[in-house]
Symmetry: C2
Subunit: 380 residues, 2 copies
């Protein structure tokens, strides 16, 4: 194998496929990046066996030569050093040559790196995903869906299904839901480009898959293809493929958990509420539960308090835009509310409380495409 | 105690004095910031008992009211939460009120923090430094002296004196030297403002003291007073004082270590050499000794190599501006050379080698105010 490649394109692709590689893997071959040179260009692959990312660098793009292939072939090289190494090479052009002993010689200007590689035949094959049924959505919309739900997945493995995000597609409306059983984030979006009127349910995508995908996608309205087949999902862009295993098991029926009524309805400015809760938790950084207590005042304001014994107490008064219904006295995990408020794009929010020991709902004002649900905590 | 203070001035002073506070201290009172309100303004103090920083916020500065004192008094408050807390308060004006039980109430807009404080009488007294003999130097010059020497102090406590920086003042020339016994950094500067022709020797300032001082000083040519008295050094600016204990013991006579002759003399571009050595060490991040091997080529270039078994080998060719004298073949800790090259302001450097097993000297070309010395390592 021997080729010359443009540095910036190489650096970008290596960074993308590296996101699938786990530094903790015990499978030697998966610590590497597979590099394949054929007559069309260079294909890079990184994988942790559940998630695989493939990036393609064509010989030419927009009239600019990116790769010049002198000899086809393939190699697997350690990912750990590789990204850093090519980023720091002195010239914009890099030559890669591999000999029979799987030693790669990387040359650029006055720098020569001789790196021990691994036989590419040992590298696992990527899953075969049948591309019959697919829908398309803009990359920036997908990024928003991920950002507004992925934070709410469970980080503990006691119920593995909750470490994923549930996708449901019906009548060209995609509903994404994540919950750790104490809070829930739900976001819906219309999918315009769905020719075959594809629908599915109980597709649970690992949180890590979507978090890494979000890092790779650029924030444009270019369309991305999404294919669901068997226990795999495939995201397909112009020059990359991301394959991921789906989580097995039944996702809880979250729809029934969401209260429809309301005993107390409060409208607030998002930033004012967020700042107040952040300050209320400042003293409890070490605290395990991040509990804040909220009650209404006669002035129409909300009073938010948090007590950390031995350190002190914080009291915050937050102006409301409107307050309707019963008196309010509730305690909950303030950190969870902060997480949700941070991903809301709306400048004003609506909270519906249904009692001191019932879950409450946070939404943008007058919008139904997004919903956050929080369980209260019992305090005596 | 009760006062109202302008937030930004308070935040800045708290950040400054916090730099003296050690998060690992076992002395409860030293985890706090002492706050004193008197008729002139607010004085804040932080200390780890070796290093103490005092910051003063006057009632008025440049015609702007910074503090309004309603009642004089003092308190000690936990540093850990305090900086973060006042930074996030909603209004630009902050009210601080302390009651008889040492509970401080911090109010700003709709936020009220009640913080448990400590009796200020328990706080240790700052050292008494007689301010008879002093010299003055611009803050930005002092910052440069610190930056160009402090990195070379020893980080291990086996020879405590080497964790400090040696200052020597004679004929109004200040010489700063730091060494960890494998490399040495020396920087000299003329001190213009030295009325009483002060001189001293064997003043060894803890590396931490100067590193923290560098963080506090702004990069201007305002003068700073330096007082050395007994086993203390005091740095005195317009609104702050930094006291530090000096290290006890005799600093090694470093002057005799510096070779005066030269067997091989090489001139190089700083950036080219720095980039090449950084790349040469890319594969050896895990390596303990960071050894690079340097030899001259017939072309007049230097060849720098580094081998990490199992990973690979890097070869760098560096163009020289001039090469004079004997053949060169030497091995040394490349990381140490990187540290020195990063703080050099000169774009071109001069290296004098005196043999494969003798220390070599790095200097800016045609300048004598700065010198770096490196020991080679033996490799077989």
């Amino acid at each position: 194998m021997k080729f010359t490649i443009q540095r910036d394109a190489f650096v970008q692709s290596v960074a993308d496929v590296s996101k699938a590689i786990s530094p903790r893997t015990t499978i030697q071959i998966l610590t590497g990046i597979k590099i394949v040179a054929d007559q069309d260009g260079i294909t890079l692959t990184g994988s942790d066996s559940d998630l695989s990312i493939e990036s393609f660098i064509p010989k030419e793009k927009d009239g600019e030569e990116l790769v010049n292939i002198q000899e086809e072939g393939s190699i697997v090289l350690q990912a750990r050093f590789f990204g850093d190494m090519i980023k720091k090479l002195p010239e914009t052009s890099i030559e890669v040559a591999v000999n029979d002993q799987f030693i790669a010689q990387i040359t650029s200007g006055g720098s020569v790196f001789n790196i021990n590689g691994i036989d590419p035949d040992e590298y696992p094959r990527l899953p075969d995903v049948e591309e019959a049924d697919l829908f398309r959505m803009p990359k920036n919309l997908l990024k928003t869906l991920i950002r507004q739900t992925a934070f709410a997945v469970s980080s503990v493995e006691t119920r593995p299904i909750l470490t994923g995000i549930h996708w449901h597609l019906e009548d060209s409306v995609l509903t994404c839901t994540a919950t750790d059983s104490h809070r829930l984030a739900m976001r819906m979006a219309k999918v315009d480009d769905n020719e075959n009127n594809l629908s599915f349910s109980n597709v649970v995508i690992p949180g890590k898959t979507l978090t890494e995908l979000n890092k790779i996608l650029n924030d444009t309205d270019e369309l991305l293809e999404v294919v669901v087949a068997g226990n795999q999902i495939l995201f397909k862009g112009d020059y990359f493929l991301l394959y991921s295993r789906l989580l097995e098991g039944n996702y809880p029926a979250t729809k029934n958990m969401i209260p429809t009524g309301s005993k107390t309805s409060v409208k607030l400015e998002t930033k004012r509420l967020l700042d107040a809760i952040e300050r209320a938790l400042l003293l409890s950084r070490e605290g395990k539960n991040n509990v804040v207590h909220v009650k209404n005042l006669e002035s129409g304001e909300l009073e938010i308090t948090s007590v950390t014994p031995e350190v002190g107490k914080v009291t915050e008064h937050v102006t409301t835009m409107s307050y309707e219904g019963d008196e309010l006295k509730i305690s909950f995990n303030g950190k969870n509310l902060i997480d949700a408020l941070r991903v809301m794009e709306a400048s004003e929010v609506h909270i519906n409380f249904t009692g001191a020991m019932s879950p409450f709902v946070l939404k943008p004002i007058d919008e139904d495409h997004m919903l956050h649900l929080f369980s209260p905590v019992r305090t005596y």
